[in-house]
């Protein structure tokens, strides 16, 4: 089929849309067709040499895949669905991308303009539905607006604090033909994403940094979003100030660095939480003082002053009052602080502070006790990490997860040295995220190793995407930690509800084999898989998975009695930390 001529002559709205995507540098789109988006799919076939269309097996899979793509590349992930149920299947993805500040452009077909508002077949008001779970949303009312709206959508999604943008396009708008105006300018008078730290703020920040004796950096997803990892590392090494990371900050500072305190918060390390609590200055950079980080927010970092820098002004003083709140792109801000330190180096002596932290780290490291002959989840992840490191693959291994215990163990025991290698649903905590987000990451980087570390509950939520993995020939690996339970809820039952199991058991009964049979499921999808349960089989099975050319699911039966530790219970303080 001939490609439409994009420079002259009339084009359909669908062709204009696809052409506009190409102009934004889109390489892959996750798209599930339906009545109201068919013209766009027809157009996609005409552009197939330039733009890869991937068919997920539910729209949510496509949305999560777009998020995976966005997290590892920093570019907007793009997904497409039809109107009605197709579009509503995007809602969890939109909310997820909003919470974790991932750039995404979600396009939905809509019923023709003349029947909007009549409860037409597969009509849902997507703009209304998505208003509070997107950064911005559009209902395109004229074919003439497509080129401008797509330009705006990508700009909004990718600038400032990144986020998802929804573009709803009625079918007749896709079908109309017009001569597109590619030069129409954006109309965003209220959108000013560029924020930069001022000289006066720099003066004040430097003064506070220079007078601190026990400072600590609390680094979050903003470091990832703004690409500030080099600046962060330069600052930490110049200043010798230790770095604690949030779940979304992992990888922005090397885990194997002496100054890394690893993760803080509910399931963070004992030593990072102690250090935060004892610090006299908290450099809160690209963070939002999430309740899973702070616990009881009044008691969080209560002994220190706070310099909070974020590109989103609404995060400043939202959950926690800062002594110095600064609206700024974090990469620019740290760069400026580094420049000041180059001009006048820091003379502070943190020897006793480092010694104190070393003591905490030595006394209470992250640890687990092996269970004879069994494989426990922490051990499986640790061993996987060791194997990847031994092979020299750490700098090209991406890990995605579902949500729950396995996710926290992956955060604790897969130690990331590089940014954009860790893809997890943090803010929204969407189960079922692991496999589809791994697809998106793999499509972005076909030559990297992409491993979904998943739980049996989460994996089952989007298990149908194995079909997409197979048909798209994606060599995604799944390390499935199968404990037959919804482990994190089970853990809370054990700790706070006397161990009463309230619908957290997923199997058929203790006297029956584990359920479902994932190896048989994988067989049906044509995906290689193996089930193991003995620790003696772990190494060989991990090697087999890592050596496999195609997709592979390693189903590891693990005991369900393990708890994610340490744990600061929700709304409590570092003094309430559960360590055993």
């Amino acid at each position: 089929m001939a490609q439409p001529n994009s420079s002259t002559g009339p084009m359909t709205g669908a062709d204009i849309l696809v052409e506009a995507l190409l102009r934004e540098g889109v390489e892959v789109i996750f798209a599930y067709p339906g009545g109201a988006s068919m013209p766009i799919h027809q157009s996609l076939t005409r552009y197939k040499d330039k733009l890869r269309t991937v068919l997920p097996r539910i729209e949510q899979g496509g949305g999560f895949a777009a998020e995976g793509y966005a997290r590892v590349t920093g570019k907007a992930g793009v997904c497409l669905a039809t109107s009605g149920p197709g579009a509503t299947n995007f809602t969890t993805c939109l909310a997820d991308a909003k919470m974790d500040s991932l750039p995404m452009v979600a396009i939905t077909g809509q019923v023709p303009t003349k029947v909007i508002g009549t409860d037409a077949f597969q009509e849902t008001p997507m703009v209304g539905i998505s208003q509070q779970i997107t950064k911005h949303q559009y209902l395109i009312q004229r074919t003439e607006d497509i080129a401008r709206v797509i330009k705006e959508a990508f700009y909004i999604a990718q600038s400032g604090r990144p986020g998802p943008v929804l573009v709803d396009i009625p079918k007749n708008i896709q079908q109309n033909s017009i001569v597109p105006d590619w030069n129409s300018s954006m109309n965003l008078p209220g959108y000013r994403p560029d924020k930069k730290i001022s000289d006066a703020e720099l003066d004040k920040a430097l003064e506070m940094i220079r007078s601190a004796r026990r400072p600590i950096i609390y680094a979050g997803g903003g470091i990832t979003s703004s690409g500030a990892w080099d600046e962060l590392r330069a600052f930490a090494e110049k200043s010798r100030i230790p770095v604690a990371m949030t779940l979304q900050g992992l990888g922005t500072f090397p885990a194997d660095h002496y100054l890394s305190l690893h993760m803080l918060g509910m399931h963070g390390t004992v030593y990072s939480n102690y250090a935060i609590n004892e610090a006299d200055l908290l450099l809160a950079w690209g963070v939002r003082f999430d309740d899973r980080v702070t616990g009881k927010v009044e008691a969080f970092a209560e002994h220190g002053k706070i310099i909070h820098i974020d590109i989103d002004p609404s995060e400043l003083n939202k959950n926690k009052k800062a002594d110095l709140p600064i609206e700024s792109d974090i990469r620019y801000a740290i760069g400026q602080i580094n420049r000041r330190l180059d001009e006048k180096p820091l003379t502070s002596d943190y020897t006793s502070w480092h010694r104190q932290i070393d003591q905490w780290r030595h006394d209470e490291p992250l640890k687990f006790d092996a269970v004879p002959s069994k494989i426990i989840p922490q051990q499986a992840i640790s061993r996987l990490w060791e194997k990847v490191r031994e092979r020299g693959w750490l700098d090209r291994t991406i890990v995605t997860t579902g949500v729950g215990q396995h996710q926290m163990w992956a955060a604790q025991y897969f130690r990331f040295n590089d940014p954009r290698m860790w893809v997890t649903s943090g803010g929204l905590g969407s189960m079922g995220f692991g496999l589809p987000s791994a697809m998106g990451a793999q499509l972005a980087y076909p030559n990297r190793l992409v491993i979904d570390i998943d739980g049996d509950g989460s994996f089952l939520m989007n298990v149908q995407e194995l079909a997409c993995v197979k048909t798209e020939n994606l060599p995604v690996k799944v390390l499935l930690l199968n404990n037959q339970h919804l482990g994190m809820v089970m853990q809370w039952e054990d700790r706070f509800h006397g161990g009463n199991r309230a619908h957290t058991y997923l199997g058929l009964g203790d006297d029956k084999p584990p359920y479902p049979d994932f190896v048989t499921i994988c067989k049906g999808f044509g995906i290689a898989s193996k089930q193991i349960s003995a620790d003696s089989d772990l190494d060989a099975a991990l090697d087999e998975m890592l050596d496999s050319d195609g997709a592979y699911v390693l189903d590891i039966l693990v005991p369900h009695q393990e708890h994610v530790l340490p744990m600061i219970p929700s709304g409590m303080t570092v003094r309430d930390m559960i360590k055993a």
């Binding site: 209304g128 208003q131 209220g190």
Partner: protein, 170 residues
């Protein structure tokens, strides 16, 4: 505490729903919200009365500014301003009480805009306090229907002394 915020927004479908939805979903308390056109066709002005302390006000302002179609947000109550609330009220008025009510209308500089055998419709604009005072005065006569726009406001051009100018306004 109550604050008066004024927001210039792009005059586009869905902006009101977006702003109202944001306020509701974040649990902010809004006493009134008035929307209308401005001197620029592409912009509308929304005026809010927000209840809360300074921290709530700061969040409302920042969250409003985050909405892409919101162009500018102004905390009017921190400056000298003129505010008005417009009310239409239908009050029971048998013929023998018409003179009495007409006196009240004159005292408040209100206007009778509709008359029937048993009722009057009265228009009044003014500060919220003035409108409220008029409502209180009318209540014993029997208020049948009432509609108010909510507060709208603009900052004064020059404000040498805020309290003085405000007293002139009221």
């Amino acid at each position: 505490m109550r604050h008066l915020l004024s927001a210039l927004v792009q005059n586009q479908p869905g902006v009101l729903a977006q702003v109202a939805g944001m306020l509701a979903s974040r649990g902010f308390n809004i006493d009134s919200l008035a929307v209308g056109e401005t001197e620029q066709a592409e912009l509308s002005r929304m005026t809010f009365v927000v209840r809360g302390d300074d921290r709530v006000l700061e969040q409302v302002r920042k969250q409003l500014e985050k909405v892409v179609t919101v162009v500018r947000v102004h905390d009017i109550s921190s400056e000298a301003f003129v505010e008005r609330d417009l009310m239409l009220v239908r009050v029971e008025c048998p013929q023998e009480r018409r003179a009495e009510l007409k006196d009240l209308v004159d005292i408040f500089r209100a206007k009778i805009v509709d008359v029937s055998r048993s009722a009057l419709m009265i228009e009044l604009s003014g500060t919220e306090d003035k409108v409220q005072a008029f409502v209180d005065v009318l209540r014993p006569y029997g208020i049948m229907e009432l509609a108010r726009t909510g507060r709208i406001a603009l900052v004064r051009s020059s404000s040498p002394d805020r309290s003085e100018r405000q007293s002139v306004a009221s």
